[in-house]
Symmetry: C2
Subunit: 228 residues, 2 copies
């Protein structure tokens, strides 16, 4: 099965959580919008009235006839096929529940630099961002980190662990000072990050040009004033 | 099967999307936190280290040994058992995808009155709320309404249609002037709202004391200044 991933071509964003799973599994996939005319294909699927089950937003995945959206749902469907999730229902639900909580967390990361409107520039919502980022660093971020640090994990790596690697990596990029201060409290999450990035296929991916660098258009952005 | 729903006892909030499904199906359920000592039971499941698969936040549902959280995931699991979703995978995924988009929409409703911090009072983030609500009314709300208005729906009512009823009802409570202005553009969503609320078991529920009224502690709140 060749998978088609549709996502904005110049940022990691939500698409990266799916790229990590596809890459770690060595899956056959096309990152459609990064190819010639790929953006047109992506916009067609979102906007055409002839597409019955239109996605509201990227990322979405095409697998044969199936087109599905919503990052956590894509991973819920995809990961058992990639060997990155068990097939038993209770275990799959538990992973999906964690991934949905990661999705909530990611919205809060985004909103540190866009608390007023995603359609406005950061520069047009800077005082509000300073306030929201302060609350995020002091309240919300430790709450999420506490939660995931305390959950028990088995030996197997699933897509949830790949996503937790991405959260740690992104938070280090966006909030380096905050993370230096917080990380000693979260040894399990730090160890998990290091373990995931050493997986051979993932290490090769992270060193390749396919891995888009963190940048100031993505969800994780480095604005020093938001980091204290 | 007697289901146990765990959610804050004094608001509709996210729990209401699950209550609507349980009520419409005539399911046997207990709204645990609204009973004596129910809040203690809810907090225990969230905070005790002896609970292996702790939820991050309410709502969550207990069904026998299974405890699951995240509104959209609860409905994804529950609705086929209640006759409110088909059992075929592709159809279930499409409903789940829509419900996850509704969940995203609901976060944006919440953030109109809490754009800075959910731990602060509205009164402590009022200038920011005015800006965020303006963007919500002018940009985000029409975008979501357009999306759901244009999707084709079959004759059957699923949990997604119950949730769309709740969105329309809540938006009418929170943004009455905005909705009066916008609704002529969305005849299908308005008709769906009316059709859902006439379903016999749901009509009985909505008229009962079990239906908590919209209020100023919930996700949908009426602050006239945020409605233009």
């Amino acid at each position: 099965m060749r998978y088609e991933l549709y996502y904005w071509p110049s940022i990691q964003g939500r698409g990266e959580f799916i790229r990590l799973a596809l890459e770690d599994a060595g899956a056959d996939y096309v990152d459609v919008a990064r190819r010639p005319k790929g953006m047109q294909a992506m916009m067609h699927l979102m906007q055409s009235r002839s597409v019955k089950k239109r996605p509201f937003a990227p990322p979405f995945l095409r697998a044969g006839e199936l087109v599905i959206a919503q990052t956590a749902m894509i991973l819920h469907w995809l990961a058992p096929r990639l060997g990155l999730a068990p097939k038993a229902e209770a275990a799959r639900l538990w992973l999906h529940q964690q991934q949905l909580t990661i999705a909530d967390w990611l919205v809060e990361v985004h909103d540190t630099h866009h608390p007023i409107a995603s359609g406005l520039y950061y520069e047009d919502q800077k005082p509000e961002s300073l306030r929201r980022a302060q609350d995020f660093r002091g309240e919300r971020l430790p709450k999420y980190l506490d939660y995931f640090e305390r959950l028990e994990r088995g030996k197997n790596i699933s897509y949830v662990e790949l996503s937790l690697f991405q959260m740690t990596a992104g938070l280090r990029y966006a909030f380096p000072l905050t993370m230096v201060a917080l990380e000693p409290r979260y040894p399990k999450l730090v160890a998990l990050h290091d373990r995931v990035m050493q997986r051979p296929r993932l290490a090769a991916y992270l060193a390749s040009k396919r891995r888009i660098a963190f940048n100031q258009q993505g969800i994780f952005r480095r604005y020093p004033e938001l980091d204290r």
